[in-house]
């Protein structure tokens, strides 16, 4: 990311361009990069002060992602740390650190040690028989709470233990619950609910939440490291994520939460889709919101630093889905002014072509081929690094989309439909009125 600035203090209404290239496997290998048309935004300083995650969110996604994150943050949620430590008065900390200054760690010898497994056990919950007692004599950071009556407060059960390194697949477990006191090292962020009347359910709540795709998406959209550096996040990323307080949940929702948590702890793989549905309903997310999250997660997978997934050629099936989405999005508006639109893939294309072309026309349009200029258009597109081509003739649009999966998601289909509606709909209207 490069920042160009004038050495002058801006006021809140000052605006600037934010332009962010995407990892493009094939192009980057040649030492080149392309900036997508949807990746250039005008932002104001005031917006950025209010929503400091905006740049990250736009760097990995589009305005659709900004709307989704805003929606998540604006529902009855609170930043986790304010709720956990502020409202509930509970403890949270990063785990102990071994190397460094030798500080006495004998107080921890009464605890099991998550870093000393006797044998493999469930990745989702701590089996107390599977761990040795803590045995280090000294530690650099013990995480003892000197101000509290119970110095081991941070290690008291029930505990939610979150791995700071994001696994490639959430089914490999990104966190675990513990119902016994246990010491954990700096590879974990620990949240102890000890002392709360809903302690066990609180820990189960965080465990289920962390295994939902919403959490991974929030990390991708707002964490300074995930998706830009190595897949390790900061405790502040989890602390600042939006969580609906447990007491805001209905009794039915709490009961569902408990059942989901039990399934998760027993490593029931089928529970993940149900977890996603549960969390989406808690946050009032629509099918479209979930679609945006899924699309962005697919093309900007934090473990795909080279952008291989987003750079691959799109498949015929994806093109068909894309056409259907564009048609469905435009159709109500066309119908309103008395015509139907047809969206189909242009013939004579191969999956190796740099651009794949769609033909969007009024349904009764009689084709007058303009393919004779296609090769010139492609040359121009290459010269200016375009990712989208719209060739407009009365009654028909030929739309060329760069042949990379990142431009063919359902979310991108909606963005294209909005572009057409805003800027090119007159093509159809003119033909209709002629």
């Amino acid at each position: 990311m490069l920042a160009f600035a004038r050495n002058e203090r801006p006021d809140d209404d000052s605006q600037f361009w934010f332009v962010s290239p995407q990892a493009d496997f094939s192009l980057n290998r040649l030492g080149e990069l392309r900036i997508d048309a949807h990746a250039a935004h005008v932002l104001s300083v005031g917006e950025l002060i209010q929503e400091s995650w905006l740049l990250k969110c736009l760097a990995i996604g589009s305005w659709l992602d900004v709307e989704v994150v805003r929606k998540i943050r604006s529902c009855k949620s609170r930043p986790l740390i304010e709720y956990w430590e502020g409202d509930l008065g509970l403890a949270s900390t990063q785990g102990y650190k071994v190397k460094g200054e030798p500080n006495d760690a004998s107080s921890l010898h009464v605890l099991l040690d998550l870093g000393a497994p006797k044998r493999p056990s469930s990745p989702f919950t701590v089996d107390p028989t599977a761990y040795e007692l803590f045995s280090h004599e000294t530690l650099d950071r013990t995480r003892l709470d000197e101000k509290s009556q119970d110095q081991l407060r941070a290690y008291r059960a029930p505990l939610f233990l979150l791995k700071k390194s994001l696994p490639p697949d959430r089914k490999l477990a990104n966190s675990l619950t513990s119902y016994v006191d246990i010491a954990f090292n700096q590879s974990y962020y620990g949240y102890s609910a000890c002392g709360d009347e809903d302690a066990e359910l609180l820990v189960r709540y965080l465990h289920v939440f962390a295994h939902g795709s919403l959490w991974t998406y929030l990390l991708l959209a707002t964490s300074p490291t995930i998706g830009t550096e190595r897949p390790v996040f900061l405790k502040s990323d989890f602390d600042s994520c939006a969580l609906i307080p447990l007491n805001e949940l209905s009794e039915i929702a709490k009961s569902q939460l408990f059942q989901l948590s039990k399934r998760l702890e027993s490593a029931d793989i089928s529970s993940f889709d149900d977890i996603d549905r549960y969390i989406a309903s808690l946050f009032g997310l629509s099918k479209r919101d979930v679609e945006v999250m899924s699309d962005t997660g697919d093309v900007r997978n934090p473990h795909d630093e080279l952008g291989i997934c987003g750079s691959r050629p799109t498949t015929e099936q994806e093109i068909q889905h894309f056409c259907s989405e564009v048609r469905a999005a435009i159709r109500p508006f066309a119908k309103k002014v008395g015509f139907e639109v047809n969206v189909e893939q242009c013939g004579d294309q191969t999956k190796e072509d740099a651009f794949r072309f769609l033909r969007i026309s009024v349904i009764d349009f009689i084709d007058q081929s303009v393919d004779d200029v296609r090769h010139l258009i492609l040359q121009l597109a290459d010269r200016i690094g375009a990712s989208l081509i719209i060739q407009a003739n009365d009654g028909v649009l030929f739309v060329g989309v760069l042949n990379q999966y990142r431009y063919w998601t359902k979310s991108r289909a909606r963005l294209l439909a909005a572009d057409i509606l805003r800027d090119h709909f007159s093509t159809f209207e003119r033909w209709q009125s002629s």
């Binding site: 209404d13 361009w17 332009v19 030492g31 080149e32 990069l33 392309r34 900036i35 997508d36 048309a37 949807h38 990746a39 250039a40 935004h41 005008v42 104001s44 005031g46 589009s62 305005w63 659709l64 709307e67 629509s286 479209r288 919101d289 999005a329 159709r331 109500p332 508006f333 066309a334 119908k335 309103k336 002014v337 303009v370 200029v373 010139l376 258009i377 121009l380 597109a381 200016i384 690094g385 375009a386 990712s387 989208l388 081509i389 719209i390 060739q391 407009a392 003739n393 009365d394 909606r414 963005l415 439909a417 909005a418 572009d419 509606l421 805003r422 800027d423 709909f425 007159s426 209207e429």
Partner: protein
């Protein structure tokens, strides 16, 4: 009700072409639907004859969001293509000179920020085209390249 959108042409230059009639008609249908529902409320629930402008706008917005938007009753008025803002939300004008515009009701097409996008437009009268290339374009053809202004190259 249809006169609600019958305004004179804007007197200021805008950075984009007018929205197509279809978008206005969808928005108008949505407001009309909300208005009909508001009038159908019993006086005990909401009395139109005594309510002031703010109360009516608030209720209209609530009905638009809770009962009309995304309900399928007005095709196109859903989160596939449109979003609906909170009541009297602050939005900036087209060039950012007035950042605190507060319309009573605000609805927009997806990605309204795209007015900021750089587009390169080639048509038959654009001088960037070579004579040979230009002659290949018919006068009716326009080609829009969605790209950012910058393409960086270098090893």
């Amino acid at each position: 009700m249809s006169k609600i959108f019958a305004t004179s042409p804007p007197r200021f230059p805008v950075p984009h072409a007018p929205l197509p009639l279809a978008v206005w008609l969808v928005a108008e249908d949505a407001i009309r639907m909300a208005w009909v529902r508001l009038r159908q409320r019993s006086p005990e629930r909401f009395d139109l004859t005594t309510a002031d402008e703010d109360a009516i706008t608030l209720k209209l917005h609530e009905i638009l969001v809770d009962e009309v938007y995304g309900s399928g009753q007005v095709e196109g008025f859903d989160d596939t293509m449109m979003h609906i803002g909170s009541r009297e939300s602050k939005i900036r004008n087209f060039d950012g000179q007035h950042p605190d515009k507060m319309p009573d009701l605000h609805s927009a097409l997806l990605d309204e920020s795209s007015s900021a996008r750089v587009r390169t437009v080639y048509s038959s009268n654009v001088s960037l085209l070579t004579p040979n290339t230009r002659s290949a374009f018919t006068t009716a053809t326009e080609v829009f390249f969605g790209s950012c202004a910058v393409t960086m190259r270098g090893r």
